[in-house]
Symmetry: C2
Subunit: 265 residues, 2 copies
């Protein structure tokens, strides 16, 4: 890898904490493979500092884009001048870049990475009915990305029924078949997805009753830490195919490069 | 060198333009030698953006210090909460770091690097009278640093007599022998220093009449681009020892590390 000079273009992943982020390693390897004089670093910014930090970063003429991570993915929305299509639909953002006319534009590619992770693991979602548990920013991004991949009806459950209803309404407005579920029961679905934070802590309840998952049904997950949640361990043990949450990140790199207008290696 | 991770501590050199800066190469090599998980990058920030950029960078919890370069060395002063001793005396700043109690503290080590550059080139300034042409931020930093090295009387010339008088007054207040010169004539001085911008452009006039420099007298320079100015080329041709402007940067690294509280390798 070439050394960092005054001409090196900068990218950053912004969040708090940042010690655990993998994006600098992933993208610096891609930049090196593509022969680009660019580096991604981590920017540790807490919630109270987000607005002023963003205003400052906008003045940084050699910073070409930011990956936005926890806890800023939704809080950042009112600070942006424009939302790209997947961000507008999802109500959440994980990428921002400067606009020529001022301000930031945000996009959300977590869902696209998630869908690509399923596809490359050999799971074709076309016409498959999906149970989506969790209708927050991650759930919404996944719903719209799976709809792009022409999945079947999306059934949404959230402990907050209003949130499930709101996502279903947005999906329908977008012409996507969707309905609200009265419970998180996964029986009868060929694909069941956890898009809640349940499973980050060892004593969390399961997001849905894994013993009720159909034989052969796919169980997928957004949680990256632990790498394999209890939900996935149990599903795997009873013979179901599973997809780890980390694949959402592993497979979103091409969409990140596209948004930042970096040629794919 | 270890790869950049979410735990890597950040440093930056801030200015505009930044394409030409050498600090990232110099300091990233020092960080690697010291086994530190740290990186220096360039932050391109223009004059109109300085205040907002600084406010933003203050929120960046893993950014541990900034080198400040052209055009911000004097403009940054009103944006700082505190000046360390050499910055307060020089009226200019080339390093800043966050204070625990809020705001930034600035320091100026260009002069210390300059003096160290003379010393390591074998020129002992102790008791040597100095002609200093140029009483701006660089000139002031050099004057106070040479005074620390116990040079003899400092004679200051500036095209703006008020600026020369102000620097001489500050030197005297600090107990340093100094006087204002009526002309830039270098005759009679064992050391003659250009601390003006004259020499950056090929058609600039000389800062002082090099043919009037004493035989054996040292001619030194703050300009780094071109690497050897016409002043130095002419002085060298007539047999005078010379010291290049770039030594000011080459020899300030230890002072930068000290200010940022980084162990010297």
């Amino acid at each position: 890898m070439s050394e960092i000079t005054g001409q090196t273009r900068l990218y950053a992943i912004m969040g708090e904490p940042v010690a655990q982020v993998r994006a600098p390693m992933v993208f610096n390897r891609l930049f090196a493979e593509a022969g680009l004089d660019a580096r991604m670093v981590a920017f540790q910014v807490g919630p109270a500092d987000l607005a002023a930090a963003l205003d400052g970063f906008h003045r940084l003429a050699n910073l070409d884009g930011l990956i936005v991570t926890v806890p800023h993915k939704i809080a950042i929305l009112p600070l942006l001048a424009e939302l790209a299509p997947m961000a507008a639909r999802s109500g959440a953002v994980n990428l921002i870049k400067r606009r020529a006319e001022g301000g930031w534009i945000g996009e959300m590619v977590d869902g696209l990475g998630f869908a690509e992770g399923l596809r490359t693991a050999g799971h074709d979602v076309a016409d498959q009915h999906v149970l989506l548990v969790g209708a927050g920013g991650a759930g919404a991004a996944i719903a719209f990305a799976l709809a792009e991949h022409r999945c079947g009806e999306i059934t949404v459950f959230d402990v907050d029924p209003a949130r499930a209803e709101a996502l279903v309404a947005r999906l329908r407005t977008d012409g996507r078949p969707a309905r609200v579920a009265a419970s998180s029961d996964p029986a009868g679905f060929p694909i069941a997805i956890n898009a809640t934070p349940l499973g980050m802590r060892p004593d969390d309840p399961l997001p849905f009753d894994v013993t009720r998952v159909d034989p052969e049904a796919l169980v997928a997950e957004v949680i990256m830490k632990p790498r394999e949640t209890r939900l996935l361990t149990l599903a795997r043990a009873q013979g179901n195919p599973v997809v780890l949450g980390e694949r959402m990140l592993d497979y979103q790199a091409p969409f990140v490069l596209d948004f930042f207008a970096i040629p794919r290696p």
